[in-house]
Symmetry: C2
């Protein structure tokens, strides 16, 4: 890949310097010169550093630089305004949104219509209602700017790009089926192995949280919303389903694994303290499946012909790849298409984590140039 073309400059504004954002900045700073990228803006939750000609940042110390010399926090709308002034022929500008903020997501149309490209692992904008999604498409068209969101599904795994390639080259997707949540992958890989008995559900969830695999409040994973959001993003890449989910992820048939009586648990600790009361229910499901030679997996399914889009706990034979091939917190996605008719196209691997998510973001940035 030749990036040596010195005539082109790409100004990058990074919003969000948490785990993924920090890793992204490090990966970009490590990118071998010569390259066209310069970071012109950097925003934490507290302050924004901005320099139209590029900030001077050094690996390992840039976070401190932001703390000491950052200015007042700029709102997304103000940042869009600042960046718009940098858009010129041959001078691309990119917003890299590494937050999970609804506010930043809601501002994408403003960025795009000003000609500022958007790259992000933030699922919010693309999995919300159709109205925002259409605004994003229209703004992208009007501003001649692109949005790339590979890392919203499967982090650095080539899932969104593979789906877009299949569709763009005229293949017909018939069904997508996969394990899209690294957290729920880990929990069910540990909990349901195809033999009756084993660790209790609540103990597996507790270990997952201790390892940092779940959100602070495990219900935020167990409610299935993350899977529903990913299914929404993928569905909108399929022509037949582009407008299938008017309310975005809320329109996906989603089975929540949060017991109704625990929905009021205010904290993760309170939730985990009461979850053992439901172990017998989960154990019974696992053991019933095992007696039939099956395992439980929390999957997402997009069935194009029937229009069914669901996030649900399903049973699979012990010989199915979802049982044999998964481990750790792997994601796996099977694309069934007209061309991949007899046997699906499969992508599998770690679908979460700062390094692989940042890699997906950087990879999108390289695609832009």
């Amino acid at each position: 890949m030749s990036l040596a073309s010195a005539s082109r400059s790409v100004s990058v504004a990074v919003v969000g310097v948490g785990l993924v954002g920090a890793e992204f900045v490090e990966q970009l700073l490590a990118f071998p010169a010569p390259h066209p990228f310069r970071i012109v803006a950097l925003s934490s939750s507290k302050s924004t550093a901005f320099a139209p000609d590029g900030l001077t940042l050094t690996s390992g110390t840039w976070k401190q630089t932001l703390v000491t010399s950052g200015g007042a926090l700029r709102s997304p709308a103000d940042l869009a305004n600042d960046l718009a002034a940098l858009v010129k022929p041959g001078a691309d500008v990119v917003l890299v949104d590494n937050t999970s903020s609804d506010d930043v997501a809601a501002t994408y149309p403003t960025f795009l219509s000003a000609g500022i490209n958007v790259i992000t692992p933030n699922k919010k904008a693309f999995s919300a209602g159709l109205r925002l999604y259409k605004e994003i498409l229209d703004a992208s068209h009007a501003g001649g700017a692109r949005f790339l969101n590979e890392s919203t599904v499967g982090a650095g795994l080539p899932i969104v790009s593979t789906l877009k390639d299949l569709v763009a080259t005229g293949d017909k997707v018939t069904k997508i089926e996969g394990v899209f949540s690294g957290t729920l992958s880990y929990i069910f890989n540990e909990f349901s192995t195809g033999t009756p008995g084993g660790p209790s559900f609540s103990s597996v969830v507790r270990v997952a949280r201790d390892k940092g695999y779940t959100e602070p409040h495990p219900a935020d994973d167990l409610n299935g919303a993350d899977v529903a959001r990913k299914l929404t993003i993928l569905s909108r890449c399929i022509p037949e389903l582009r407008t299938a989910l008017p309310d975005g992820f809320r329109s996906v048939q989603t089975r929540s694994l949060v017991p109704r009586s625990l929905e009021d648990a205010a904290t993760g600790d309170a939730f985990l303290a009461r979850l053992p009361g439901w172990d017998s229910t989960f154990d019974a499901m696992r053991d019933s499946a095992a007696r039939d030679g099956e395992v439980l997996r929390f999957v997402g399914v997009i069935d194009v012909a029937s229009g069914i889009i669901k996030a649900d706990l399903e049973r699979y034979p012990k010989t199915h790849p979802f049982a044999t091939s998964l481990g750790g917190s792997d994601n796996i996605v099977m694309f069934h298409t007209e061309r991949y008719g007899a046997r699906p196209l499969i992508v599998q691997g770690a679908g979460a984590g700062a390094a692989v998510t940042a890699m997906g973001v950087l990879s999108d940035l390289l695609k832009l140039v």
Copy 2:
């Protein structure tokens, strides 16, 4: 993906109209307008049609058009000359080589240095000696033209692009291991299932040939050269191994499954007639593996640390994805990297066939614009 930009034109010269070439032309003709592509040249093995402003081709009948109104066959060098005249700012020119010809492959430097991009599923140029490969890199740099060869490995599966993305974003590849030949995948999936006994090796090879999975002469698959070529292409995407294979695929440690005494079999039929004489040898290997709970698979391995690059028949436990997850003529590739450390990134699916190969070619063409 917005292709509506009418200001840009992309002239496409298609060489080779066999199974893959014909499918590619059909996919391109079916591509929804408006798009920037026009086919300016079309070459079969007998004649060439050329029209600088674009040939008038219709789905289903274009092949007849080529027969009736094609002119004399142009050599690759002459075609490069014709196409060079079309290269202008904003007017891209692409050679799509759908042959498996060494002659066309040897001319890539001429095309590239004239500013003509090259897209191809033809492995020849990229898996030959380093000299041609360096000429290609130099010509690409000098002419400002790109070469894209996604479909040389795994057809339409995202294998080359995934490897390039990993490397470009700064990940370190430690090992690549996979089943790269659809033909050998089918043969060993059928022959070695992990239990002693089963169909004879020669009978499986015969069925594979009857189904059209092998070359007319099965030795052309069983000699492992196809796998060695793919390993060469992938190795050259890895910085540490860029110059590791001076003689290209001939430098790969390759185990041929063609019995020495059958190397002189002039035809596929002669080969198959004598192959049963070797069944007991293959059966003994299979049954020995099965007694240890293992299967035989013909794999390619790239071990970056040791520099070992080999195409070989290996044994894998019955629980390994190469045993549990493969079927039909699937390819599977596992990328072990620094970021995908604990668990590899895996891509799997049909790695051969006209429709999916042409799709990989068309996908490269879309990446170019």
